[in-house]
Amino acid sequence: MLDIDKYAFLSRLSKVNPVEKIIFSIVTLTICIFFNSVPANIAVFAAMAYMVIFKGGLNARKYIGLLFVPASFLVISIVAIAIDITYATFVPQKMNDMVWKLFINNIAVIITYEGIQKAVKLFFTAITSVSCLYFLILTTHITEIIMILRKIKVPEIIIDIMTITYRFIFVMLETASCIIFSQTSRLGYTNAGNTYRSLAGIVSSLFSGVLKKADQIYMAMESRCGWGCVNVLVEPGDKISAVNIIKIIIFEFFIISFSVLTGGKYSA
């Protein structure tokens, strides 16, 4: 979470207008899900990785590490999709595309060719979608995303909650790390017993500490004539670059045609 925040800020692409990046990421994501073509998805995945690693300057190892987080969940879920578990009586006598089967008493565990195909397709769609969103969050800082949401007139209450929640993540982490340091310096984590006691201490003092900070911040907002709503001015960003938009259009056009060309074989 925090690493992503740092990578986004340090990325070489962070200076690019966030609108362009959002368009690039969301449009590509929509095309991938819509056409659902495995070769096109692989191409998009490669393009996104190229953008983040080579254009953005993120260490490839870190990028792969980040991909492992959703990939592990994904693998578990595609296994569930590929394997069918049913009552043996429901399995037809002759099944053409059965790859592997196992009968335990009345229960049948079956892997079909169709199931594998579905799982593979789902895997690529999901991992490509993740890579599209990773491109966005690894190159665009959340403050800029909030800024864009504000511009496209997302209800103010949602924006206010996002702004303050985001700030408070850091307020809370800072408070927590102070408490952990102070506990560690007084040997708070030397054995299991006092570790539990220290953790209990963190939970209670973190809660009261953050509530107190929230109170103080509210007071500070009040002192600047704030009456419970967050009015801020969004700094007008740089102009959207026409060259980049043309590049994005060309890329999307290429992906659409590639999907259509390869889609016949795989599309649902």
Binding site: F170, E174, E222, C225
Partner: protein, 298 residues
């Protein structure tokens, strides 16, 4: 040299000449916290436009509470508060008027900054004043430049250092262009360079006619900078006057747990040894003391 003399003559002028109407006028203000702490006990205080006032007193003396009263964040239990001769009656419009004119910079910038982006944070105050967006943008840029944070305007707040956050919190108040600016212990946790810049900022703001109120534990700074010093203890103002007046009063200093500024100590020690002669006025800065030591150079 002349500048120092001019500056040190100011408090005398404050006391003797008619300063016009006070900008802030507190009459018999009492405040008791919900937990029963009697934080302010019948405070009477007049503050005039353009003053530089330092509030001294040990922790828990009531300085911060008084500051919250000035901004209308706390409503006194008893007593009256006049801002520009107008009684503050704690309805929305009078609080708007008060908070527009009296800005407060809190001690800990962490408790003041709510936004995650520097520019947005600073724009909060002026946006609440319902100004036109172009004016807000101009004000935000000007105040960020004033505190040397303009180049960091796009940075997320949590990537800033403590000193930078402090400067952002000051810019957030400056952007509202208040007449009176309150700083609650502005020098705490700042390194000497930042503290020096802060002093320069105070002087610059004061030069533009802003009234500056601040609390500090830095006696030497208070002594050489303030036009007027207000000493508080246990929720009461036990003394107010110009720096010399306050720091000559040894009994008071002991009573209020305050140290004697080294300049005052040194001056009297040098007088006692006969190295310099009493000249009626205790020097307010190191330069003034050095000038007394070598009168030929003046």
């Amino acid at each position: 040299m002349r500048r120092f003399i001019e500056r040190t003559q100011l408090p005398i002028a404050n006391n003797e000449k008619d300063m016009g109407q006070p900008i802030i006028d507190l009459k018999n203000i009492d405040y008791i916290y919900p937990d029963g702490t009697h934080a302010l006990k019948s405070i009477n205080l007049k503050i005039y436009g353009g003053e530089k006032i330092v509030f001294l007193g040990s922790n828990g003396a009531g300085k911060s509470t008084l500051f919250l009263i000035f901004n209308g964040l706390l409503k006194p239990l008893r007593g009256e508060f006049f801002y520009n001769q107008k009684r503050v009656d704690y309805n929305r419009s009078s609080l708007m008027e008060l908070r527009k004119n009296v800005g407060i910079v809190f001690q800990d910038p962490e408790t003041q900054i709510f936004s995650s982006n520097v520019f947005e944070e600073v724009s909060f105050g002026p946006m609440n004043l319902k100004l036109h967006e172009d004016i807000v943008k101009q004000r935000v840029e000007d105040s960020l430049k004033k505190v040397c944070m303009f180049e960091h305007r796009k940075k997320p707040v949590h990537f800033l250092s403590y000193g930078q956050k402090k400067r952002v919190s000051i810019a957030g108040v400056l952007a509202m262009k208040p007449e009176v600016i309150i700083f609650d212990e502005p020098m705490s946790c700042l390194d000497p360079v930042n503290a020096k810049n802060m002093t320069e900022l105070f002087n610059e703001l004061n030069g533009k006619g802003k009234t500056i109120l601040l609390s500090t534990h830095d006696i030497d700074f208070a002594y050489s900078w303030a036009d007027r010093i207000v000493v508080m203890k246990d929720g009461e103002i036990i003394k107010q006057g110009d720096a010399e007046d306050v720091f000559k009063d040894r009994e008071l200093l002991v009573f209020a747990d305050l140290e004697v500024p080294w300049l005052v100590d040194m001056y009297f020690a040098l007088c006692e040894k006969g190295i310099i002669k009493h000249c009626g006025r205790i020097p307010r800065s190191k330069q003034e003391l050095l000038a007394l030591l070598s009168p030929g150079d003046i």
